[in-house]
Amino acid sequence: MNKKRSQENQDRQARLAAIQAQQRAGERKRNALIFGGIGAVILAIIIAVTLVIVNQVQDNRERDALASQPIEGVQEYPDVTFDHVDGPVEYEQSPPVGGDHNPVWTNCGVYTEPLPNENTVHSMEHGAVWIAYNPDIGQAEIDKLTELVGSRSYVLLSPYPGLESPVAASAWGLQLTADSADDPRLVTFLTKYIQGEQTREPGAACSGGLTPPGLAS
């Protein structure tokens, strides 16, 4: 009889042990899921944050690179003078990109007649870009240049008889020559230099000055 009870006890204990083992296994699974879940969340956060930081750093670097990228073919003239004088001035560059100039600036706009150098140099001191073209390039090209200027402000467009290249874009101390109005660098020049870093007198106006004959718009 004792043998039977002790056998029953043994069986019960064995079953109890089995159930307990099962319970522990179940708990282990549950714990693993909980810890695994937490670990996965933490890992996801770390990955997401790292991606954001890497992206931001990349953006910053791209933005800086874009701003400092020089336009291919732009000539720089850092030593131009800037006094205000009356009367005609002999300029080293044609069209001029800086130097002594008239106290009154040329008002920005599109012109069908040549502009006075001494006043237009002052406009560039105020941040304007001057696009000059050889009048021989033909009306089609001239129309394209007019479209290029579009509704931008702080820009002058005018014929420049005797200009060596078909088109020359100038800002204070800078010049880019181009063979046609289609040159994509002209667009970049406008965006980069209209009231750009090269402006000697930031905040100054390009209206209220002198309007020479030939204002088209």
């Binding site: 770390i46 944050v49 954001v52 000697r200 905040g203 100054a204 106006a205």
Partner: protein
């Protein structure tokens, strides 16, 4: 390792996990701000001082230019006044916007020009006895180069060549002090904006002094 956790132990662990998540978010936020956010100058900085004081200086140049344009006929002088008024008003606008961007008020309890105290040679300004008091302001309390109300009244009443002469004299004095303040701004600035604009103000106004002196000599 087998973890058999009781109820409260599990709760503690979940709370710890939640804290870890929050801590991670805080860390990530900090990393983001530190890497991408700009750092702004504070209210006592030279940048803020320049932005406030130079606006006042510029605003008076605008006022004088608007006054003289109505009272003289010489087109060259009227054009110069126009140029000074528009340029300096726009630049004042830039400085106003910087203070807004920096989250600083346009007005401050600090005395004018205190930010310049650290500039070399006190910006080359005419100091006089007031220098002992540690202020760069004139005995009458105005910043160097500023016209007094009496001088403004004189300008308002003047006409023709008298007005031209008075304007040029007042504006040359105004510009000379402006150049000094801009030089101090360029020297002490911690931001690129202040350094760039003050450098350009320095050279632009210096050139205008030369022009105005020539015109004054010709009168």
């Amino acid at each position: 390792m087998t973890l058999s956790l009781s109820g409260w132990q599990k709760r503690v662990l979940l709370i710890l996990a939640a804290i870890a998540v929050v801590a991670l978010f805080a860390l990530a936020f900090t990393a983001g701000r530190v890497s991408a956010g700009p750092s702004y100058p504070d209210a006592g900085s030279a940048d803020a001082g320049f932005a406030r004081d130079m606006q006042v200086h510029h605003n008076q140049a605008v006022e004088m230019s608007m006054i003289v344009r109505d009272n003289v006929e010489d087109e060259t002088l009227r054009s110069i006044a126009y140029d000074i008024a528009l340029t300096q008003q726009q630049q004042a606008g830039q400085m106003y916007a910087w203070l807004e961007e920096w989250g600083l008020p346009q007005s401050d309890a600090q005395p004018r020009m205190e930010w310049m105290a650290d500039s070399g040679d006190h910006g080359g300004m005419e100091m006089g006895s007031a220098a002992d008091a540690g202020t760069m302001l004139r005995p009458d309390g105005l910043m160097p180069g500023m016209a007094t109300e009496a001088q403004l009244d004189e300008l308002r009443a003047a006409r023709g060549e008298d007005a031209e002469r008075l304007y040029l004299q007042l504006m040359i004095t105004h510009h000379e002090a402006g150049v000094d303040m801009a030089a101090a701004g360029a020297e002490l600035a911690e931001t690129d904006q202040v350094r760039t604009l003050s450098t350009k103000i320095q050279s632009g106004q210096q050139a205008e002094i030369t022009l105005m002196q020539t015109m004054l000599d010709a009168l």
